[in-house]
Symmetry: C2
Subunit: 306 residues, 2 copies
Amino acid sequence: MIDKLADRIMELEAPIVVGLDPTLEMIPDRIKKEAVDRCGANLKAAASMLFDFNKEVIDGICEIVPAVKPQIAMYERFGADGVTAYLKTTEYAKSKGLFVIGDVKRGDISSTAEAYAAHIGGVEFEGLRFDPWHEDAVTINPYLGIDGVKPFLKVCEKNDKAIFVLVKTSNPSSAELQDLILESGGAVYEHAADLVSSWGEATVGASGYSKVGAVVGATHPAQGAALRKRMARTFFLVPGYGAQGASGKDLKGFFDADGGGCIVNSSRGIIAAWKSDDRYGENDVAEAAAFAALAMKADLREAFTR
Amino acid sequence: MIDKLADRIMELEAPIVVGLDPTLEMIPDRIKKEAVDRCGANLKAAASMLFDFNKEVIDGICEIVPAVKPQIAMYERFGADGVTAYLKTTEYAKSKGLFVIGDVKRGDISSTAEAYAAHIGGVEFEGLRFDPWHEDAVTINPYLGIDGVKPFLKVCEKNDKAIFVLVKTSNPSSAELQDLILESGGAVYEHAADLVSSWGEATVGASGYSKVGAVVGATHPAQGAALRKRMARTFFLVPGYGAQGASGKDLKGFFDADGGGCIVNSSRGIIAAWKSDDRYGENDVAEAAAFAALAMKADLREAFTR
């Protein structure tokens, strides 16, 4: 998946993943009204409007960017109906040729991680294979160490999938644990980076990158550039662009010398563009998303092109 | 919730939480067959058998122990149908008077954590409140710091709920990040412990414990005892008993001087007891679970009673 993603990024000249993290506030009234009229004032309606909204966004951006990253929390909040909307979203995105990175940040002990690995590996039941999740990759939390990663590694190898492990996150309080300095030198996140590199070592593909990527926040440009040098074979998933504060010029260091090795996430800036850009209205979800994705592509050009 | 849980533990003399982590291998053929006959060979059948099995376990243990802890990975593997089985399980457990600790190990940046907080806070939609998750508490991963915790804290205060933050996990590779020694002294997990204590400080209730608990693995008795002293107002959720290797005598140090402050999880040892204990057969899921829970209560007596 990483090799193919790297190729597709170069083909589109767009190292961009669109974060499908919809809140109800972002959804046009016409979509909301239609869902409530059809389902009633219940969680089925909430889920239905999430999916209908995502569909318009996906239609707008599917030929501009290579990938989407739905944040499962935005769906889980609505219970099983919300999860259904998540699954319909990932399925629809796949049908439009997009790579799907499930932002689930799972991480657990080995027997549990084996169950979570169904996200990218599917599940066997009554001698049949099912793949309810339609994800090409998921994000993983490293706090439990390799036990929580190993079952995913097996699936990555077998089904050509990938994982992105949290190394240095984009949020303000990421420093509380991640930046602690170790007696042996370096910070916790640098040690996590070394673990992530070693976990992926045996899975390096034709692109030169392993199937174990790293999440490195755009809000930390200096650390990002240093990590880029430290983890030469690790693909970066970079959140924190746009609404969280970082812009294209901050991101040069996250890319390799040849402009590869990195995909940058934008959520609100693209999916809610119809609302934040005066030139667009509630019928322009797709077009406003396309415009915002193109604007981001231009903004990243300096960082991306070599 | 922590105050009430502490009371109920003393009332039952059972500092025990039953981990509802079913695998298909644990489920009797009669339950499996009935589900497949009814639903067909699909994920609805898989989900249905998880819930039917849990129901029998819950019936067996609901007057012996105060709480259950379903591990959501075991349900998520089956997609949205699996999540439905999880929600039916939590709802049924609540209806039987059990506290429900959702073992979801979520943790994310603030806007996302706000969405995840619906697990214990419910969600508002069209002016109505919904609580699809039926959880009294959830487990949380601390790698992102307070940003991922704050939205939960608000709900804990408002709705008398709780969270249990991973400090020192029970699995073998927990040492990879958690045991790293800091330049300032102590290990990463000890620093996490101090953060968890401080996050809970303002929420200490009548029981003397805060609404921010800690996950501390039973497989680390020395560290557990040291953490008990370090975090006097933090309630411990202790996995790793039984199948993962720890027994009652290892656990004395996890309890306070008055026998409080701790609840120990057992999953396979209780829910799959019908299979591992020769005296029971496939019609004895509830009774075997009850027997195993009582055996665990006796095994913990020495650690628990003061």
